[in-house]
């Protein structure tokens, strides 16, 4: 706690250079807004800038059917439905008549990864503009046909309608390549008042199939002649396969092939359970050498602090302010946490001897294609990656790795599609985790309890080890000729990785924020829902409450006192009002907590208020009512936004109360739900209420990750309010809370 904020060390000196090079630019906190809004010359909106042809996004065939192509993936966030709504709106076509094709390297634009809550900003914006331009083009064509001025015409349910109510269906207007034209920078978008589909809570198109047993996930994909495979993974990260006796396993019923390449080991069988049985047998006959040395879990944060770091000053701002009357300092820690997709990763691949097709639930089909092509020494055009849904991933889980497994096995069994299903234990032990992080916050208050100085430093690994590098794929590292993982890089501001949301949105006179980027990764890590924002918002918003207490102020009033931005204030006050925020003391053991953040300082605004009940004897935290308010810009599907925020709150509650990856000196101990418990029905909040604040005419802002940080801080603040004790280490499990409150 009272360790000096900046220890002058070899690291600091070494970092000096970086600091200079960075302080040449304007402090990013200030820059952030401008960077986003003030684009230079007119550039194409959203992802149109990467794929300008209109027919890359929208096609209309002769019978008038409309097909929309997005380079993004449905990962349970309801993007399909929202994109159909956007297209239907500007095209003037009933949503039910629109087909949607998601990420497919052979059919859709390359929109990179479906991550960072960017899908609506990128793809939604592109499709909305493309749709508006297509509409105008078709009206133009109709105008010529009918020999009337375009402004005499309007589009209506898939047709262009003229003065005397003459209608020409879109199908009849698309002859030739009318849509094979480049998009224009500006589109004739419908005015907010005129919107009919956008802003309506349209039922999600995928749900009916999912509740009745339709083919909804890559796990459900069944191709003719498809074989089933299981992988046998090493007991620990770098363990190498020493010896293997396959004789017994080869004799097992249904076994088609045992594939070994270095330490990559798998078995392919006719039927799925035969593969499961063979996997167990194979594991029993495989000998591995001594394994990885992992750091001591109890001292993991000390270990991370001992690792060299590159230091980046990401915000530096100095203005005259009143004298400091008191200073506070605190350290917050977040352990490794896992995605824990409820359906372990799965993929299907098929190799015809020349070209490879992979069906995967990974978040980026184009980067995945690049990585797999590199791994198999194929050219990109010989590999096609098609997205199919999996269970929710919440970031970079085992999906890409499973796709790589399937690719390797399909190549080993040409002519037959191979389906690979990871086991629960494999998903838990091998997925890349959300990195352990810690941060130090120090701030000073003036005599009237206003923040006059804010210093914050966060220490973290990278938050992205995604493809396209082949070395990012698990199997590629285990091959006889292994691929090396790419050197980890920080994700630059304004989005940031470990430093995401580390710059407070509050208006403070003096701010200094430093990101200590730690390249060495003792455990495999990558993007997990919210990236650094989960930890940073937990830390900043907890610290803000500690400052409020020191200032003798109500946490809500204290926040409003330090924030001017109207949309932020609206979200904060809405959540507070609907929750019925009050500073009146509650009965013993009960507490209320509040927290707010704008995701990435660029995305959705989200505020969460929650009440908790802490059992004194056990330290167990029970969740009561939770109320959230969210502003995602122009709300396309309000219920979809509410659904994601509700889910985010419940999931973040699980992370915050229970979750921490356990490991010993050689291996990961969190191998299933018994060793890595998560929230169950018995402990979910009494109620979760979400208020969506629409911002008509405003750009789409991502929602998917907005609730993770505020929920964690709101719970921590409520626990502090209930017990008078501040717990700064996640998770806030019963043992830890009990230790804080004492007997």
């Amino acid at each position: 706690m009272n360790a000096p904020l900046f220890t002058p060390s070899r690291r600091e000196v070494l970092a000096g250079a970086l600091i200079v090079s960075f302080s040449l630019r304007p402090p990013r906190s200030v820059a952030a807004e401008e960077q986003q809004n003030a684009g230079p010359k007119p550039k194409l909106p959203g992802s149109l800038k990467d794929a300008a042809m209109l027919d890359a996004w929208i096609r209309v065939d002769a019978n008038g059917t409309v097909t929309i192509f997005t380079g993004k993936c449905e990962i349970g966030q309801g993007i399909k439905t929202a994109l159909i709504q956007v297209a239907a709106e500007e095209l003037e076509v009933e949503p039910s008549r629109i087909h949607l094709v998601t990420a497919d390297t052979a059919r859709t634009a390359n929109e990179g990864f479906t991550s960072g809550s960017n899908s609506m900003k990128d793809s939604g914006t592109a499709i909305r503009n493309a749709a508006a331009q297509v509409r105008e083009i078709l009206i133009g064509v109709a105008a010529e046909r009918l020999g009337v001025a375009a402004d005499q015409l309007h589009a209506q349910s898939g047709a262009v309608v003229g003065p005397d109510n003459r209608r020409i269906g879109y199908g009849e207007l698309v002859a030739g390549d009318v849509l094979h034209v480049a998009a224009q920078p500006a589109s004739k978008l419908k005015s907010p008042e005129a919107l009919k589909v956008i802003g309506q809570s349209m039922p999600r198109v995928d749900i009916p199939g999912k509740v009745t047993g339709g083919v909804s996930y890559v796990q459900d994909l069944r191709l003719p002649g498809m074989a089933h495979a299981r992988i046998v993974r090493p007991p620990s990260y770098d363990a190498r396969l020493q010896s293997l006796d396959t004789s017994a396993v080869e004799k097992l019923p249904g076994v088609l092939k045992i594939v070994r390449d270095g330490s990559f080991l798998a078995v392919i069988a006719e039927r799925e359970f035969q593969a499961v049985t063979a996997m167990h047998a194979l594991a029993a006959h495989a000998k591995w050498d001594v394994a990885t040395k992992l750091p001591d879990e109890k001292d993991i944060f000390g270990f991370i602090e001992s690792l060299p770091a590159d230091d980046y000053v990401i915000a530096e701002k100095h203005a005259p302010a009143a004298a400091a009357a008191q200073s506070l300092e605190a350290v917050y820690r977040r352990p490794y946490q896992l995605h824990g997709s409820i359906g372990p990763s799965c993929a299907v691949a098929s190799f015809d001897g020349d070209a490879l097709t992979v069906w995967s639930h990974a978040q980026g089909m184009f980067p995945l294609r690049k990585a797999i092509a590199e791994m198999l020494h194929l050219s990109d055009d010989k590999v096609r990656c098609i997205h199919m849904e999996g269970a929710g991933c919440y970031g970079h889980n085992g999906a890409d790795d499973a796709a790589a497994d399937a690719a390797l096995l399909a190549r080993a069994l040409p002519g037959r599609p191979v389906r690979v299903q990871w086991t629960r234990e494999q998903e838990h032990q091998w997925e890349p985790y959300g990195p352990a992080m810690l941060s130090r916050a120090r701030a000073s208050l003036d005599a009237s309890g206003n923040i006059v100085d804010w210093q914050y430093e966060v220490r973290s690994n990278t938050h992205s080890t995604r493809p396209p590098g082949a070395g990012q794929l698990l199997a590629a590292r285990h091959l006889e000729q292994p691929f090396k993982p790419d050197a980890p890089k920080p994700i630059p501001q304004p989005e940031g990785g470990g430093d995401r949301n580390s710059i407070p949105l509050y208006a403070l006179p003096n701010v200094r924020v430093v990101h200590h980027f730690v390249p060495d990764m003792p455990l495999r890590v990558s993007a997990q829902r919210g990236l650094g924002a989960y930890h940073n918002v937990f830390a900043i918003e907890s610290f803000l409450d500690e400052l409020a207490v020191a200032a003798g102020a109500d946490p809500l009033e204290f926040r409003l006192r330090h924030i001017q931005e109207p949309r932020a204030r609206k979200v904060i006050t809405t959540a507070a009002e609907r929750f019925g925020w009050a500073s009146t003391p509650l009965p013993k053991g009960k507490g209320r907590g509040f927290a707010f953040a704008r995701y990435k300082n660029l995305g959705a605004y989200c505020a969460v208020a929650i009440e908790v009940d802490v059992e004194h004897e056990s330290g167990r935290v029970r969740l009561g009512r939770a109320v959230a308010a969210v502003d995602s810009g122009q709300a396309v599907n309000p219920d979809g936004i509410a659904n994601q925020i509700q889910g985010g709150i419940v999931q973040s509650a699980s992370w915050t109360l229970y979750e921490s990856v356990r490991f010993n000196e050689t291996r990961i101990l969190s191998q299933d739900w018994s060793t890595y418990p998560i929230l169950r029905f018995g402990a979910v909040p009494e109620s979760v209420e979400v208020h969506v604040i629409d911002a008509p005419g405003q750009p789409f802002l991502g929602t998917g990750e907005a609730a993770q940080g505020p929920t964690a801080a709101a719970i921590a603040n409520a626990v502090a309010n209930a017990t008078g004790m501040r717990v700064r280490d996640l998770p806030l499990n019963a043992a830890r809370v009990k230790a804080a409150i004492g007997v």
Partner: protein, 419 residues
């Protein structure tokens, strides 16, 4: 002559009566406000309370801690844990230290009523002044909970509390835990915890017809809430010898050689996980000594797979389909041991523990790391469970086949359905 006899008898009776009244006077109420305790005494009392598992009997299903209401089934009827929070009206708020000590040592409550030995004062009577003071301080420092006690459902004549005076004359031997100079301080500390505060014998020593522990059969194994409580002495059938280390692991969380605690033992381990390590090490040291076997008697884990399969192909197949997925993976699934034969229960005199686990599975408390086993009550019928149980016995234990497996399964199922 007869008159002399008569008067002697009369005197004896009067003396007894006098003694009874002297020991059963109501102890005057004492107001909460009169009490203050040193924080470290309260803290130590908290550890004592954990070591005495007070909460497990004095807390209802999802009720407030120490507020009572938990039913305890005994051969004599159902006894309900009482409210031991300092609530003046329904708890022990008015109890003085003297009243508390009398209850713990003599089994007589503040009002002078004799307490049933389901409350193990036959062990607590051996507690030191200091520890009683610490326990008292801890309980009195709890938040008072207003929760009226439930009246016990005991059959006549057991409902007559005065009979307990006789019971105590027969069975309640007071005084400290007998010590052994030749033993280490750790062992002595362990002996004190085990015999007095943690009252291990209450479940692990068989009881006689009047519900008293049979002193001559100390730690021969007993029962708790219809579970078999294995012996803690040389008669233990555990095929894997217990060491101090494995006992410590088991008592603290889970042991790779023996597995983990289930049933009524689970809350015991949960409590021991919260207290300073050296206490648990002391308990382990003492129990290790009571369990100690000569080296040559070390057993090995049986696995008569082929014979068992031939004898009971149906059971073998059910085991392969329902159990093997987790239990035949060479302990690769967390919280499974290499062979089910390592679980002492498979070697017990009756199949109750195995049946309980198969029917109801194992669920750790919300949000805590611990074994999860699904309940098979709805998946398997009685006949199928019986096949599996006898297969397990035949395959993993050298002992004779259990009798009346089916009957036990049916009986235990009935318990569930009956409220």
């Amino acid at each position: 002559m007869r008159r002399i006899l008569f008067s002697i008898l009369l005197i004896a009776v009067l003396a007894a009566a006098a003694l009874f009244f002297a020991t059963h006077l109501t102890i005057p109420a004492e107001q909460q406000t009169q009490r203050t305790f040193a924080p470290d005494v309260v803290r130590r009392g908290g550890e004592m309370a954990a070591l005495g598992y007070c909460a497990s009997c004095h807390t209802a299903g999802n009720g407030k801690p120490f507020a009572g209401g938990r039913p305890l089934a005994t051969p004599f009827g159902t006894i309900y844990g009482t409210n031991i929070t300092p609530d003046a009206e329904t708890g022990i708020g008015l109890w003085s230290q003297a009243a508390f000590n009398r209850a713990m040592r003599d089994g007589v409550d503040r009002a002078g009523r004799d307490l049933y030995p389901a409350f193990p004062y036959d062990h607590f009577t051996k507690l030191s002044e200091d520890d009683l003071a610490a326990l008292y301080a801890f309980l009195m420092a709890r938040a008072p909970v207003h929760a009226p006690n439930r009246t016990n459902a005991l059959a006549f004549p057991y409902s007559l509390r005065p009979l307990l005076v006789g019971w105590k004359l027969l069975y309640l031997n007071k005084g400290p835990v007998s010590s052994d100079q030749t033993k280490s301080a750790q062992w002595t500390g362990g002996a004190y915890l085990v015999e007095a505060l943690s009252h291990c014998g209450a479940c692990h020593t068989p009881r006689d017809r009047l519900g008293a522990e049979i002193a001559s059969r100390h730690f021969d194994g007993g029962e708790a809430e219809d579970w078999w409580a294995p012996p803690l002495n040389r008669t233990s059938p555990s095929p894997v010898p217990w060491s101090e280390e494995s006992l410590f692991n088991y008592l603290r969380s889970w042991d790779a050689g023996h597995g983990g605690a289930v049933g009524p033992m689970a809350p015991v381990v949960a409590a021991l996980a919260t207290i300073p390590e050296q206490n648990v090490r002391a308990i382990a040291a003492y129990i290790a000594s009571t369990l100690a076997k000569p080296a040559e008697s070390e057993k090995h884990v049986e696995d008569n797979q082929t014979q068992a399969m031939q004898a009971n192909p149906q059971g073998a197949q059910l085991y392969a389909g329902s159990c093997a997925t987790c239990h035949e993976t060479g302990a690769h699934v967390p919280f499974t041991v290499a062979s089910l034969g390592q679980h002492t229960s498979v070697h017990g005199p009756d199949p109750r523990n195995v049946i309980h686990v198969i029917l109801h599975g194992i669920q750790p408390p919300e949000g805590t790391v611990g074994a999860i086993m699904p309940a098979f009550a709805d998946t398997l019928n009685d006949a199928q469970i019986a096949e599996i149980v006898s297969y397990l016995r035949a395959r993993f234990s050298g002992g004779p086949q259990w009798s009346n497996i089916a009957g036990e399964i049916a009986r235990i199922r009935r318990q569930e359905t009956s409220p």
